[in-house]
């Protein structure tokens, strides 16, 4: 980097010269800099850049802003999905976008999370399987599992799931922001385990349990979110070949939180996922 003393010289000269006309600049520069060619060329190049008329900085920022707005000017915002008006985006997942939906038929007030699966990522052959999966998910009824309320297809055939909207914060943020004791953390953890066990008894595995998928509501109830990539275990036979959906989403987990068997691509059973969930609430 330019030495401090030299930078101060450059800065001072630049400021003295910016408002002078070109002829005066040249003579002033020559007299002040003498044979210090480096100083002279530093100041000159700054003055030259200062003279550029278009504001390239504004242009660079404008372009970034335009691209950001284009990407986030979501076509679904403001439209209706079933009885819900799409209000805003809650988040983006690997295969889906989750919107906040408000019930819009003046029946009653209700906020939901609407998960819209990204059209392009879905192989047509897998749609029917997804349909059957969401029926199974709809049967999960547990206080610590975000409920599936409804599901369907948009006009263009893109499948969506309407889920219970959980107003809370992720379990690690919840624990840390309240500086919970170990005992309180473990009590939360036990509730999470109960929900996981319940799902497993119904032969549904979550397969992407991590702290950001476990929210805790203000009244202290943990809620497991995002059973979106859950796979229905083949009944009674752990060794049946992977289903199409499994193959598609087979690696759709988060490595930091996945069971080692998952990462290695070994056959998945309920057990490793359950054991591994121990790590999520620490």
């Amino acid at each position: 980097m330019i030495p401090r003393a030299r930078w101060l010289e450059v800065q001072s000269l630049f400021e003295q010269l910016i408002d002078e006309d070109a002829g005066d600049r040249t003579s002033r520069l020559a007299s002040v800099c003498g044979d210090d060619v480096e100083l002279r060329s530093s100041v000159e190049s700054l003055l030259n850049s200062d003279a550029r008329r278009e504001d390239a900085l504004l242009y660079a920022i404008g372009e970034a802003a335009e691209s950001l707005l284009e990407d986030h000017r979501d076509r679904l915002i403001g439209t209706r999905i079933g009885p819900y008006r799409v209000a805003s985006i809650l988040g983006h997942g690997g295969m889906s976008t989750v919107y906040r939906g408000e019930r819009d038929d003046s029946q009653y007030q209700q906020t939901v999370a609407i998960k819209v699966l990204q059209h392009a990522t879905l192989h047509p052959r897998l749609r029917s399987r997804l349909h059957s999966e969401r029926h199974i998910l709809a049967t999960l009824d547990h206080p610590s599992i975000a409920r599936l309320i409804d599901s369907g297809d948009l006009e263009d055939g893109t499948p969506y799931l309407v889920m219970e909207h959980v107003d809370g914060e992720s379990i690690d943020t919840y624990c840390d922001s309240r500086t919970l004791f170990v005992r309180e953390r473990l009590e939360l953890f036990v509730k999470v385990c109960a929900a996981v066990q319940y799902a497993h008894r119904n032969l549904v595995v979550h397969r992407d349990i991590k702290s950001s998928n476990i929210f805790v509501t203000v009244d202290g109830t943990p809620k497991l979110l995002d059973f979106g990539i859950a796979k229905l275990l083949e009944k009674g036979d752990q060794d049946t070949p992977a289903t199409d959906l499994t193959q598609l989403v087979g690696r759709a987990f988060t490595p930091e939180f996945a069971a080692p068997e998952q990462v290695q691509g070994a056959m998945r059973r309920s057990r490793p996922m359950f054991m591994r969930s121990a790590c999520c609430s620490t």
Binding site: I61, E63, R73
Partner: protein
């Protein structure tokens, strides 16, 4: 949209070394941008770039209005313009990752003269150069953030940083010239 009351608190957390606060701030910025963008983008096409910049600046002002005591405003202007910079740069980076695959096609269209060649540099290059300026002269980097990412006028910046408008104007000219040299390499006008 009502700006959440914890916006300023999150900003403070973010700058005092809690990077996860950015995860909660970014959606707030996006929400506000989207809300404003709906109005702007309905206007006729063309000059989108300027409109988009205006959207960013308006979102900035709306977000910063939330619950900031007058004597803290300079501080929060600085934080929020830093946040805007972060949001724009992160988006540009993720977008360039996504777009890598279509570059070849873009290049072909460009050669065919269908789309104009890219401008001198993008916001990521600007971001890098600003880091350098931050090392050299933090005051200059800050006025650039306030003016370009926050959209503050010279007068507003003068109040925020406690300097005269003339000083702010000089600082911005120097900072901009330095950044252009840094990004483009020194070249004759």
């Amino acid at each position: 949209m009502q700006v959440p009351a914890n916006f300023t608190q999150l900003l403070t957390e973010w700058r005092s070394g809690h990077p996860q606060a950015l995860d909660r701030l970014t959606p707030l910025v996006y929400d506000e941008l989207r809300r404003l963008a709906r109005n702007y983008m309905r206007a006729e096409r063309g000059s989108h770039t300027l409109q988009a910049t205006a959207v960013v600046h308006e979102a900035f002002l709306r977000l910063i209005q939330a619950n900031v005591a007058l004597q803290d405003r300079g501080h929060f202007f600085a934080l929020a313009s830093r946040l805007m910079r972060r949001v724009l740069v992160d988006h540009a980076k993720s977008r360039s990752r996504m777009k890598r695959n279509v570059d070849a096609r873009d290049l072909a269209a460009e050669v065919a003269g269908e789309i104009p060649p890219p401008m001198d540099f993008d916001v990521v290059a600007l971001d890098d150069a600003l880091e350098g300026l931050q090392q050299l002269e933090p005051r200059l980097a800050q006025v650039i953030e306030l003016h370009y990412f926050g959209g503050l006028t010279y007068d507003q910046i003068a109040v925020a940083v406690g300097a005269s408008t003339a000083t702010v104007h000089r600082d911005i000219r120097l900072a901009r010239a330095w950044l252009l040299n840094e990004i483009g390499g020194t070249r004759p006008a």
